[in-house]
C-alpha cells in the first residue's frame, strides 16, 4: 500500500478518543475556574471636590508669591540708595567748595614741583631746609 493510500485510508482520524462528554465538561469547568483578574473589579472613582479642582492653581499662585517674596527680600537686603549727589547735599557742597579741605584730603596727586612752587611763593629757601637739618 502506498503512503498516499495509507493517509487517505486513515482519513485524518488519529484513532485517539476522549471520555464521553469531555469537551463539554471541560469548557464548563475551565470557565468556572478562571481566576479573578484585577481589572475585572471596577475602581470606584471618588467625585472630585472643589479643593481637588483648584489645588493646582493654588499651588501655582503660591509658587509665584514665593518668588515675589524672595525678590522683595533681596531688594530689602540691598544697601539703601540715599542721595549722594553733591548738589543736593549741603555738607558735601561746603566741603568741595573749601580749597583747603580739597587740597588736604582730596587732591592727593600733587607733583613735587607744585609743592616747591607753593613753598617758594610763601618765602621758602633751600638754605632754610639745611638749617632745619641742623
Amino acid at each position: 500500500m502506498k503512503h498516499e493510500d495509507i493517509l487517505k485510508t486513515v482519513n485524518r482520524q488519529s484513532g485517539m478518543t476522549v471520555p464521553d462528554g469531555f469537551f463539554e465538561d471541560f469548557a464548563v469547568r475551565m470557565a468556572a475556574s478562571l481566576p479573578e483578574q484585577k481589572w475585572e473589579t471596577p475602581q470606584n472613582e471618588l467625585p472630585r471636590s472643589l479643593w481637588n479642582k483648584v489645588r493646582p492653581y493654588m499651588y501655582m499662585a503660591a509658587m509665584f508669591l514665593g518668588v515675589w517674596c524672595m525678590m522683595k527680600m533681596f531688594d530689602l537686603m540691598r544697601p539703601s540708595n540715599s542721595d549722594l549727589s553733591i548738589e543736593n547735599n549741603a555738607i558735601l557742597s561746603e566741603a568741595v567748595s573749601n580749597d583747603d579741605f580739597m587740597n588736604d584730603y582730596c587732591l592727593t596727586d600733587i607733583e613735587n614741583s607744585d609743592l616747591l612752587e607753593d613753598l617758594y611763593s610763601e618765602g621758602f629757601t633751600p638754605t632754610a631746609l639745611s638749617m632745619l637739618d641742623n
Partner: protein, 186 residues
C-alpha cells in the same frame, strides 16, 4: 464561512477588550477552541491526561495574559501558539525528568502510544501514530497541522513563524518518512 469566522473573531476580540464583557467572552473562546486545541496538544503528547492538563494551562495562560493580546494576530493563531509552546515545554520537561535524549524520544513516545487507553482500536491509525512519533518535533507539528487539522500553509506559517516554502518541504519530508516507516514495518 471564512468571513463569518473573521467577524465572529472580531466581535469576540472587542468583547475581550471590554472588562465588563471579557469573562463572558472568554467563556465563549473556551467553548469554541477547547476541541481544536485539545487535539493539537494530544497529538503532540499522545496522552489524554497530559493533554487535559496542558489544555488547562493553555487557557489559564491565555486568560492571565489577555491584556497583552492586542488583536493584531488572529485569536486562533494566538491560542495555537500558546498551546504549542505548552506542549513543547512539557515534552522538554518530560525528557529531562525521565532522562531521555532527543534521539530516544521516538521510542519513549511509542511506549506512551502503546500505553494509551483512549483509542478506537484501529490498528492502521495506531501504526500511523507510531510513524508520526518517529518524526522530529517540528516536522511532527507541521504534519499534524497539515494532515490532521487540514490547516493552510499560510495559517501554519503564522503560528510557527516558518516560511511557507520551508513548511511544504517539511511536510513532504514527513510524508516520505512515514511511507518509509510503513515499508519497514510491513
Amino acid at each position: 464561512m471564512a468571513e463569518d469566522t473573521t467577524s465572529n473573531d472580531q466581535t469576540l476580540i472587542d468583547q475581550l477588550r471590554d472588562p465588563s464583557t471579557c469573562r463572558k467572552a472568554f467563556g465563549q473562546v473556551i467553548a469554541i477552541y477547547t476541541e481544536p486545541l485539545y487535539w493539537q496538544i494530544r497529538r503532540m503528547v499522545d496522552n489524554h491526561d497530559d493533554a487535559n492538563d496542558l489544555l488547562q494551562n493553555t487557557f489559564l495562560k491565555a486568560w492571565t495574559s489577555i491584556e497583552n493580546f492586542r488583536g493584531d494576530a488572529k485569536l486562533s493563531t494566538w491560542l495555537h501558539k500558546i498551546a504549542i509552546n505548552e506542549s513543547l515545554s512539557f515534552l522538554e520537561r518530560e525528557r529531562k525528568r525521565q532522562n531521555v535524549s532527543l534521539d530516544d524520544e521516538e521510542s519513549h513516545l511509542i511506549q506512551v502510544i502503546e500505553a494509551d487507553t483512549n483509542i478506537d482500536g484501529d490498528q492502521l491509525k495506531l501504526k500511523l501514530r507510531k510513524a508520526v512519533a518517529t518524526l522530529p518535533e517540528k516536522q511532527r507539528l507541521v504534519f499534524n497541522m497539515k494532515y490532521y487539522d487540514d490547516m493552510k500553509y499560510e495559517e501554519i506559517s503564522d503560528i510557527l513563524g516558518t516560511s511557507v516554502g520551508a513548511l511544504k518541504a517539511s511536510y513532504h519530508l514527513a510524508v516520505k518518512k512515514i511511507e518509509q516507516y510503513f515499508e519497514d514495518n510491513d
